[in-house]
Symmetry: C2
Subunit: 337 residues, 2 copies
């Protein structure tokens, strides 16, 4: 049935593969009749997991592969050499039109490189950015770009802002999302050469709701719905985010154990603190898209459980039904004229 | 007595000026006979504070000024226009040789701009970086550069590493400190153009203990004693550090108040958590130096109390006695030959 929205799912990627990956696929098809999932991976392992569940057999198809790309492998080489890996096979199914979308909890590097090299960019897109979601004190922000291609040009950043706005409105349901550029000060004249050149382009763009510079100090507090930056900066932002929050938590856990009084107190506050910090973890928000490709490419956290896999798969419905790529093509070609 | 180490202290800078500033100066001279402090600022205010204390009158001299640079003022303009401000006057005392060092809790921008424009760079120094201290889980790291001059060149970063090493060894007492470059991956081939060009320079430099790339995720965990980066990146690092730790703390405080059980527990853990997080705050570590100038320029946090002011002043003794600038000149001129 060609009416399905077809998703290629990397069955071998992530810390909990294939157990949680397969469970996520089953949960997704049991929740929506619109989805068909092609799971790539070691046939025996995938089938053994599938055998545990009841689901519409037409909605899950196993695509046997014989290789696996490890987390630590150099991505460019891995993509080139391991043609029969779960990642390369799944990406090729988007390329050849069998699937509309790709979801993986595996190697970020391989997904980002493969997204560009195998799936390929939409016409008019200069660079396809990676846009993870950062939880903030008042919700979340989309951070574009935190991918593999550093040293972007101002025109790239402008495209990121347009694509991010379309994604945020149509997929995440935030109307007229605010766009900020990560900068070292709030004033317009502040910044490095890239930011100074990009600022007027964003300011004069009618397609986005630009609110100016955002200092890194304000990121976790939720300064803008969409945070635009070059990928080196984006990588520093997301990794500082993860590193500092984990360090502060370590510090607090140590404090909890520092004396008897604290130990007793810790027992009482433990649950609330755990719940609060969970919402603040980068892992709690579904998959991160790579925008501007000939199909949707979604990377979920390496530690993803079935719930994140399911959400990432179901997100593909919105992406397809909202014609995101059509909208991106329209917005970007306006620019070209 | 010209045997004193003379420090120009901005008496009007910071949230707690002049009360805590003056107290810090008094505490410093009462702790060391080697120091003389020139406090710049509104004469009446400074004298009224000084009148509260007992100290050797020869060691504190008030330098009357009539203007003040506010935190929010554009620094370049402020430095140029307010010649009789406490900051400009204090910087000029370093320039004309009256003082060896400058300490301020006031406008960071004005201090950084004034450091370069008024005090001036040492011969051979291409760029004078700002090097704040970041507390980490196992101590602290020196972050160079987090100043105002972005878009650095590889040769600048190499000089930052050399100057940072000298400062860390001679002033902070860390022998053979490790040097890492902030990067988006651990492998040598990763990075933007600047990092890729700088990496071999650091690797082949005999004067530093280079350990390679440090991902932003590892910064708060204490990956290297000295973290080298371009100022835009350094600004993002330090501001993410401050923003994320404050957001996580807000989140935890909210959790403490979320129900009765947590509220009771919070009373018991409060002190330990407060102590633990204090050591993790960027404010708890003394002043941050600007390296490579014709004199020592130290900026302490805007919220500094007398203890930070005192420590920043006393740090000038080590700086002077260890002949830091002589060492920097020697190391950098080796490079010139």
């Amino acid at each position: 049935m060609s009416d399905y929205i077809n998703v290629a799912l990397d069955g071998m990627g992530g810390d909990n593969a294939p157990v949680e990956i397969v469970k996520g696929a089953v949960d997704a098809v049991n929740e929506s009749k619109k989805i068909r999932v092609y799971i790539t991976g070691y046939e025996d392992l995938i089938n053994a997991e599938l055998a545990k569940y009841t689901y519409n057999k037409e909605q899950i198809i196993v695509v046997p592969t014989t290789e696996m790309i490890e987390m630590a492998e150099p991505p460019v080489l891995a993509i080139r050499k391991k043609k029969d890996s779960s990642i390369v096979k799944a990406l090729n199914m988007v390329k050849d039109g069998t699937c509309d979308a790709y979801v993986s909890a595996g190697s970020t590097g391989a997904t980002l490189v493969g997204g560009q090299v195998i799936v390929g960019k939409l016409k008019g897109v200069e660079r396809a950015p990676f846009a993870p979601i950062l939880p903030t004190l008042n919700g979340f922000s989309l951070l574009i770009d935190s991918g593999a291609n550093v040293d972007a040009r101002p025109s790239h950043l402008l495209q990121f802002a347009k694509m991010g706005t379309i994604y945020m409105e149509s997929v995440l349901g935030i109307k007229n999302p605010t766009v900020g550029i990560i900068n070292i000060g709030a004033e317009e004249e502040k910044g490095n050469a890239l930011v100074k050149e990009t600022f007027p382009l964003l300011k004069n763009c009618p397609d986005i709701n630009f609110i100016g510079s955002v200092e890194a100090r304000e990121v976790a507090h939720g300064a803008a719905d969409i945070l635009i930056c070059e990928a080196f900066t984006g990588n520093v932002v997301i990794k500082m985010y993860e590193g500092v929050s984990s360090a502060v938590m370590k510090c607090i856990k140590k404090a909890f154990m520092s004396n008897l009084k604290s130990k007793i107190g810790a027992l009482l506050v433990k649950k609330s603190v755990k719940d609060a910090v969970k919402g603040f973890s980068t892992e709690s928000h579904g998959g991160a898209p790579m925008l501007g490709l000939n199909g949707l490419v979604v990377k979920t956290h390496g530690s993803s459980k079935s719930i994140e896999i399911k959400n990432s798969i179901l997100q593909c419905i919105t992406f397809k039904e909202q014609n995101i790529n059509q909208k991106i093509k329209e917005k970007l070609s306006v620019e070209d004229n």
